[in-house]
């Protein structure tokens, strides 16, 4: 979609947000493509909500440009920006019923009345709340209120939909169901969704691309597989999923990868251009890329703890040099681990699995 000269849905150019002496968002530039489910992921206080609120117009950028399909909107107040927001606590108007809530945006835009009625009905059908049009928000469950908030934000036909942790107030089952529905709604509506969350699972299941943020900075942008398999730095590797972060020494470098030395044994890491032989660096190794076998030399250690997790076994191993690593083995085909708790084991690592990170 990005070729053919089409403008990006949202483009940030050197956007900064400062509150007095505190910088909430360091200089940030990236683009959100047309018709894309884009997620801002990070721990609380990383600046993801600030960034979303700047796109919506509730916060003013201290510097930089915010472009919406090529048009600079940074100076526009929220009511003149063709984007709509789903708020974390929904912010439904308590004195209006569901239909009036959904109609509000269109009424403000002076959409003709018959069309408002038709689109309210459509929006309520989309979120499966046709029978609740006359109810007050206070008469609805949390999940239903959430759907009203979605319908209200989608009904006026925004160019981009902004969602500020909309699922965080729901219970787990509902949250999981809503992830699928949200993704489906994004596909149907054909507009870009910008979704803010601190929940990496949420981000991985729904997003076309994810921006991982920390301390007012975007650390990496990529699809789920990229940020999981090829984390750009220590923070991303640690924040997305589980990992082992180990200090290793680069033995040799080559086009097919770098040989790294870990506690005397050698492994092949994913290629990386900017490392030299003899350099000490940090490697991220995912637990599921580690296999335990009966002791046979190489990297060895003692299996300290084995936890049954249903689909997986989680093993904690103490290496001979005293460091600890975790491994995951799938609970498939009724196989048993070849090593029991307290026994010695040899640790195998998939070729190319270790990712060398900047120190």
């Amino acid at each position: 979609m990005k070729d053919g000269g089409q403008a990006d849905a949202v483009e940030l150019r050197g956007v900064v947000k400062r509150y007095g002496a505190v910088t909430a968002l360091k200089e940030t530039s990236f683009a959100i493509r047309d018709n894309e489910f884009f997620t801002l992921l990070g721990p609380s206080g990383c600046g993801k909500t600030t960034l979303l609120r700047m796109i919506a117009g509730f916060e003013e950028a201290s510097a930089g440009e915010i472009r919406l399909y090529g048009e600079d909107i940074a100076a526009l107040p929220p009511n003149l920006r063709p984007v709509n927001t789903v708020f974390q606590q929904y912010a439904l108007f308590p004195h209006m019923n569901v239909a009036e809530n959904v109609a509000f945006g269109m009424r403000m835009k002076k959409v003709p009345k018959p069309e408002i009625e038709r689109r309210v009905a459509e929006a309520l059908a989309l979120v499966k709340l046709e029978d609740f049009a006359a109810r007050r928000p206070s008469q609805l469950s949390g999940g239903q209120q959430q759907r009203v908030a979605l319908a209200r934000a989608l009904a006026p036909g925004p160019k981009v939909l902004l969602l500020d942790e909309p699922l965080s107030a729901l219970d787990l089952k509902l949250r999981q169901a809503m992830r699928v529905e949200l993704k489906e709604m994004q596909r149907k509506s054909g507009i870009a969704f910008v979704f803010v969350t601190h929940d990496q699972e949420e981000a991985l299941t729904m997003s076309d691309r994810i921006a991982v943020m920390s301390a007012g900075e975007v650390r990496q942008i990529g699809d789920a597989q990229k940020i999981y398999e090829e984390p750009a730095d220590r923070f991303v590797a640690d924040f997305i999923g589980e990992t082992n972060l180990l200090e290793v020494e680069v033995a040799r470098t080559g086009p097919e990868g770098a040989a790294i030395r870990l506690a005397g044994a050698e492994f092949i890491a994913a290629p990386r251009a900017d490392v030299k032989a003899g350099e000490k660096t940090v490697a991220s190794i995912r637990p599921e890329r580690i296999t335990l076998v009966a002791p046979a030399g190489g990297l060895t250690g003692v299996l300290e703890r084995l936890v049954y997790l249903g689909t997986d076994w989680a093993a904690t191993i103490r290496l001979d040099d005293g460091r600890q690593i975790t491994a995951r083995a799938q609970n498939a085909h009724g196989q048993k681990l070849p090593v029991g708790p307290g026994e010695r084991a040899t640790i195998l690592i998939d070729e190319g699995a270790p990712r060398l990170l900047p120190r």
Binding site: A56, G57, F58, P77, P78, N79, L80, V83, N84, T85, F87, Q89, A91, L92, F93, P94, H95, F104, G105, M108, K109, R152, A153, P156
Partner: protein, 307 residues
């Protein structure tokens, strides 16, 4: 939805405690009955009695007090009844004065309350304290001070002439404007405090949601903020309107004969030797009845809105 059984259990428990609770509430009921119910009853009864000439009443049923409020029967009561507009005019003027005072308090009190409620929490207490400071001084003294402030060669006129806005002092004392000033000054905090409480509870993300949905500032205020803080606004209006309607200090001290209000009329009936107790009681009963009917109509309208 669920938990119907639990709710039923709660009711059963309440029922078991009901007799105890009734006894515990007895002192409150007694105080309310003796000090609030009884005086009203006495007022009501007196309004239907015959007047004694040096104040007090004769225990003889009579509608003369109500009759006097509405009709003029001549000196000896032998002429056919003619509508007497003197007291009705006083009553109407009081209503208008009270309505204007309420509107004025709302106009100034709403922005003030909004401003205070949107300050950082540690500043709000100070602002509220400042709003209530005048109340540490007796109302009579404050009203006299107001008279001093606005009299012909008082500070207000001196100031206005000093900056060249007027060339001659404004005759403010003994006018409706003076009474308005007195009422406004006396009852402003009653408007500010309930509105403040409502705005403080207001969820400002509703304003953001409205702005996000293309509403401009005025529309947000009118369609989202005001409906949400309505109960506070209505409470403020009632708290200002009712005492303004029955006020007698401000009209007495700041107004003149032409600005006579119903509160002063009632006061006169009980203070002087020329007083007419049943007439005063009847005027008070009429006043209270009209206020009560207005409040009941409002309560019913509110109840319908909620459904």
């Amino acid at each position: 939805m669920a938990g119907g059984g639990a709710g039923g259990g709660g009711r059963t428990q309440s029922a078991a405690f009901a007799p105890v609770r009734l006894w515990l509430l007895l002192p409150s009921w007694a105080v309310i009955a003796i000090f609030m119910g009884l005086p009203l009853l006495i007022m009501l009864v007196y309004s239907f009695l015959t007047k004694e000439f040096r104040g007090g009443v004769i225990w003889e049923f009579s509608l003369a007090a109500y009759d006097r409020f509405v009709f003029d029967r001549g000196l000896f009561g032998d002429d056919p009844p003619v509508l007497n507009t003197t007291y009705l005019t006083i009553f109407a003027r009081s209503l208008i004065q009270a309505l204007v005072a309420t509107a004025l308090c709302l106009l100034i009190g709403f922005p003030a309350a909004f401003y205070i409620a949107t300050r950082p929490p540690e500043q709000r207490t100070l602002w509220l304290l400042l709003i209530t400071v005048p109340y540490w001084v007796n109302l009579l003294i404050r009203t006299v001070s107001m008279k001093f402030l606005i009299r012909e060669n008082g500070p207000l006129n001196e100031f206005l002439m000093g900056i060249g806005l007027i060339s001659e002092p404004l005759p403010l004392v003994n006018t409706d404007i003076a009474v308005q000033l007195g009422l406004f000054y006396s009852y402003l905090p009653f408007m500010v405090l309930p509105i403040y409480a409502a705005v403080e509870r207001y969820d400002f993300s509703l304003s953001e949601a409205a702005a996000d949905l293309y509403a401009d500032r005025w529309t947000i205020l009118r369609e989202v903020t005001l409906p949400a803080v309505r109960p506070g606004v209505i409470a403020g209006c009632i708290l200002v309107f009712i005492p303004s309607l029955g006020a007698f200090l401000a009209p007495d001290l700041l107004g003149g004969a032409r600005t006579f209000m119903i509160g002063s009329l009632i006061e006169e009936q009980f203070k002087g030797a020329a007083g007419d107790w049943p007439f005063g009681a009847a005027a008070a009963t009429i006043l209270m009845t009209i206020v009560l009917i207005a409040l009941l109509l409002h309560a019913r309208a509110e109840a319908r809105r909620e459904v």
